[in-house]
Symmetry: C2
Subunit: 209 residues, 2 copies
């Protein structure tokens, strides 16, 4: 488990990347100008381009870094990988920056982020399959889609975390916030519909179909 590294110990290249990792999700790509990134990293604008070739190159480096780091975290995981309950809190343990960046990258055209998304879905399907066999999770007529949608919902929650925090006070990228959210998520995925509603909704869908 790598602990929070001091900025002073990092190479200049890493400091620049970390500055971008912070700024892109916070300000968006265009408002995070090379000058602003350079200032945050404590270097000159020219050096940013020197290290990454172009601003787009910097962005790709950030994408690759975050995606790679997520894969490493998955491999470190003793349990089921990205889908096991402790994964999110561990990645938050390293840094909320990682999760926030991924959430942001998923809302932009990022091939790296999209590939990671696909991997997460594929892995989640496997884990779910196994869990079904073990009698932990209910089966489905369309397990692939259900899993993909369920995972998208969780990641979507991360994408909208600012709104969630504003309304509920829960900071999903924070360990304390995640602890508050856990039982609520558990409640939701345990089912919030009573049998009566299920029947009438099922009929509505049949009528509409």
């Amino acid at each position: 488990m790598r602990s929070a590294t001091k900025q002073d110990d990092l190479t200049t290249r890493a400091r620049i990347r970390n500055a971008a990792l912070d700024l892109f999700p916070e300000q968006g790509f265009n408002r995070s100008t090379v000058r602003v990134i350079a200032e945050k990293a404590g270097v000159s604008p020219g050096l940013v381009l020197h290290h990454f070739g172009s601003k787009e190159g910097l962005r790709e480096a950030c994408d690759r870094y975050v995606v790679t780091r997520f894969r490493e975290l998955k491999d470190d995981s003793l349990q089921g990988g990205m889908f096991d309950p402790g994964f999110m809190s561990r990645s938050i343990g390293e840094s909320r920056v990682l999760m926030r960046y991924l959430a942001w990258a998923l809302t932009t055209d990022s091939p790296e982020a999209s590939t990671l998304f696909d991997e997460m879905v594929a892995e989640a399907v496997q884990v779910t399959q196994r869990s079904i066999e073990l009698g932990y999770i209910k089966g489905s007529a369309d397990l692939e889609s259900r899993t993909a949608i369920q995972l998208s919902m969780q990641l979507g929650l991360a994408v909208l975390h600012e709104h969630v925090q504003r309304v509920t006070g829960i900071d999903l990228f924070d360990e304390a916030g995640l602890r508050r959210a856990m039982p609520i998520l558990l409640e939701i995925f345990s089912g919030t519909f009573e049998p009566d509603l299920l029947q009438s909704l099922g009929e509505t869908i049949d009528r509409t179909a």
Copy 2:
């Protein structure tokens, strides 16, 4: 029910706004230059600024329009408003543009969109409260948060709709796609956890807390 209006019947101002409504979510704010918007609307760049003062003014006009339109759709609704099952399909009936724009706006700093989000949560809480009394929905220790999170998950799904479509083939902003998604969402919100897992997860949370 207002049906799809022909572009030719609209005022120039409305045509410009519609062009932006399309472009902002598709290309992002910065790549949607005034020139591109003007071209799509079939007018000169100067006229865009003449009508909306600035590009930022155009963006605010779009936000206001979408948010207002959503409120109108809610008022038209005979049932529980934005949270009733038919609402989404009806708003898609008018135009997928509306939903796509809202999803995008929620990922940018939009006061209008944030306010709408808050309203949707407040309304959902009310509807859920009523549904609990009617025995349709299960109660909660923290109903506000649970409802906010559940709504965020649904909206988050809209935000990540491109990924959902890539992986499952389901286009959530399309009537046919929504019909495919409905039973899956029903399945999810009915609960996908078996009692065995619930117990062990509950213990895990207790241990972590």
